[in-house]
Symmetry: C2
Subunit: 218 residues, 2 copies
């Protein structure tokens, strides 16, 4: 298909598609003469990935580049590609001073050791967790080691299930997309449910219903 059809099918404006081509997010179509190129379903798929990463994941163009590079790099193992992609979609803040971060990393090392995980020392998710711990301790909301461990074990159960859901009979690049989208959407889902649960619990705790028994009528 040509660029206008690609645009119609994905809802992404033609100039934006051109922009993504320039930035290397989208591979060029197969050229048919100097004013014509042919795009396929791969491009539709890739465009969906890009829009998802940008709109839902809130990623910057540069980070999207890193993800698609990992998706496309056939020399990476599946595990290696997951790692690169995961690092790319992880927000980096670098909160706190050296002391605060060192303390956070000590807690993290102990936790990772305790649950027996194999997580690269330079994994960005360690930094992400460090950011969260710094923020919590600054606001006197520090979690206990037991608490942390409980959340970690919960996370492991879910992670195992998520990875088990990745089909084994698909192309490597598709599997990487699968994991990236699954991670972002899975987190959004879990976070949304948590907020909804908080709203419910906050109502119970701080705003007893005007009626009588358990819950009133709106």
């Amino acid at each position: 298909m040509r660029i206008s059809e690609l645009s119609q099918r994905t809802g992404v404006p033609v100039p934006t598609i051109k922009y993504y081509l320039r930035e290397g997010l989208l591979p060029p179509g197969t050229s048919r003469g100097r004013t014509q190129a042919d795009y396929g379903d791969d491009h539709v798929r890739r465009l969906r990935l890009i829009r998802t990463l940008i709109e839902v994941g809130g990623l910057a163009i540069a980070d999207v580049q890193a993800v698609v590079a990992a998706v496309d790099d056939e020399t990476l193992s599946l595990h290696g590609a997951f790692g690169v992609a995961h690092d790319a979609i992880t927000p980096r803040h670098g909160l706190g001073d050296d002391g605060e971060r060192a303390a956070a990393h000590a807690v993290i090392d102990e936790l990772v050791d305790g649950v027996g995980w194999q997580v690269r020392h330079q994994s960005q998710s360690r930094e992400m967790l460090a950011d969260a711990l710094v923020m919590l301790s600054r606001s006197d909301l520090a979690r206990s080691a037991d608490d942390l461990r409980a959340v970690a074990e919960e996370a492991q159960v879910r992670a195992r299930a998520d990875l088990a859901a990745v089909p084994t009979d698909i192309a490597r690049s598709e599997a990487v997309e699968y994991v990236v989208i699954g991670t972002l959407a899975g987190e959004a889902m879990a976070n949304a449910l948590r907020r909804m649960a908080q709203e419910h619990e906050s109502g119970l705790r701080f705003e007893p219903p005007p009626g009588n028994l358990t819950a009133g009528r709106p």
Copy 2:
């Protein structure tokens, strides 16, 4: 204290503090003559909240405004303020067409009904969840109702614990800050742990160790 000291204590540049004052994120100090105003610990605290929301929560200035408005509005009940604040810190995407969203909302209604939650119909977290469900179904990653419910029940346990941790002997405004920061940091923590668990599990599943035990070598 004067603005320069406020700047030093928080690490936020003076022009930026002035900008926040202009935007109404930070209340003006008590004026002492025309070229002098006095700032207090409240301002230090507020500034920390603002920076956290912006840097870690990734909120836009307008959304920070909504949060501080909820924090400051003494006419709101605690539950009401949580709701406003929660809505403000929730990303809005509006993914998918009417059909997709209606389907997602049907699933959500059934879920909320099933677990017996009281969640405002116009709560932004419903929209957030709808976004996640649309994204998942588009990528053939749709979760079963049982799955959703399991995650929801997990979320409820955590939400209850989070709210129980809110001290009851502090000012209302502090409690709102508590919940906002706790929500953002708690999510970041849970998400980071999940990514770490995924990295570990992915290693086990797709990249067996070069050693000897379970599986073969890559």
